[in-house]
Symmetry: C2
DNA sequence: ATTGATTTTAAACAGGTGTTTAAAATTTGT
DNA sequence: ACAAATTTTAAACACCTGTTTAAAATCAAT
């Protein structure tokens, strides 16, 4: 138990929890302060405004989310292994933080709230060499040729949607959290098999 | 041009636009009234409260969304044709209403805001005979055996995510709306081919 | 121990929130 | 044309919003 968090850190952590759960519009500065066990004025003392605190939280959440899985592509493995591990890690991360992609997507959708500059995060993604490796694999006939954005959507859809769409899927199938968690484990297997079967070009004959 | 909308209908339509775009927390009763060209008090005169108006809007949006595509399963076609048409219709609907699934998912995620009873919509889905047909196709070895919820997640993911995740995909790939729309068309083809290839059991030898 | 800087607090600010009220305007039925 | 019912309006209600202020408390350094 590391209780050695400074006031500033406590507020930032509380803000992350509250923002991710309720969204920028769905909570107040006072709620964040209370969650951190602090006074309202302290929020603005350390972070100037609700908007600025949000921007800071959003950027760290975004980076955590993107980087938690993409590190795999720095390793020395076959592309198929990397994809398998990527999916595994993505499901792992999202099982612990199921509401993060929904948070990111929802907040990005209301573009007027804040200006998000993707350059910094994009550089870090580039640095993993994913795009380079995928492009090369396409030219070598290892994986199917398609725009890398289409490829990204394909993989993201099958990894993120089971978590993003959970509230809808739960309601439509009348499931509780435990039942849904079981299905998620199966979903991961289906998705892995389907994506690899579709993306990788079979060599036999 | 049907300008024959009653005050009540004008408010409902305005509320739908505003709620879907900004979410329940992201807009005010006054904003909805202004969008409808009405006074604030009229909103509560016709709908009692913001919450109740929202509940009404949400339910109609939900039903439109679910029913726009599932009607296919009432037709007399092969299951593969139905799936192809389903995907086609889903992409068609979402191209016209790209923010509806994100709206539904976001609002369902904050369960405390209102109590949504899925029974009515579930009955309508059952009435199309989808579940029955899919179950039978599984027993006959036409399609892969898996829990129907997993199957629903698989299809929903590949149809809805390109639209739900659009803000994220656009940012990460630095695309404008036109570029993204082009990719969506391709995505539909990839998804159709992949899903059919994975779900339907090949008969040759 | 006293000073000075930093941190925390309670209180206030102007403006926005959902909702209600009561009067005005309009429509309806006779 | 009149009266009753319906619809629309402007104003007000109490409360919550993000932010600021100025005083109090705490800390650090001499």
């Amino acid at each position: 138990m590391s209780k050695e968090l400074s006031t500033e850190e406590k507020i930032r952590e509380a803000a992350k929890r509250v923002f991710v759960e309720k969204g920028f519009d769905g909570c107040s500065s006072r709620e964040i302060a209370k969650e951190a066990g602090m006074n309202v004025a302290l929020v603005n003392y350390y972070f100037c405004s609700k908007k600025q605190l949000f921007k800071l939280v959003f950027e760290t959440v975004m980076e955590d989310f993107m980087m938690s899985t993409l590190e795999v592509f720095k390793k020395d493995l076959s592309l198929e292994s990397k994809l398998r591990i990527f999916i595994e890690r993505e499901y792992e991360f999202l099982t612990s933080h199921p509401d993060i992609p929904r948070f990111i997507i929802s907040e990005l959708a209301r573009g007027d709230k804040f200006e998000f500059d993707p350059r910094s995060i994009l550089e870090k993604i580039e640095a993993t060499g994913v795009f380079e490796e995928l492009g090369k694999a396409q030219e070598e006939g290892i994986i199917r040729k398609m725009d890398l954005t289409n490829l990204m959507i394909l993989i993201s859809a099958n990894c993120q949607y089971p978590f993003v769409g959970k509230p809808l899927m739960k309601h439509l199938n009348r499931l509780d959290d435990d039942q849904y968690s079981e299905l998620i484990t199966l979903q991961k297997q289906y998705v892995t098999e389907m994506l690899i079967g579709y993306l990788f070009i079979q060599k036999n004959k």
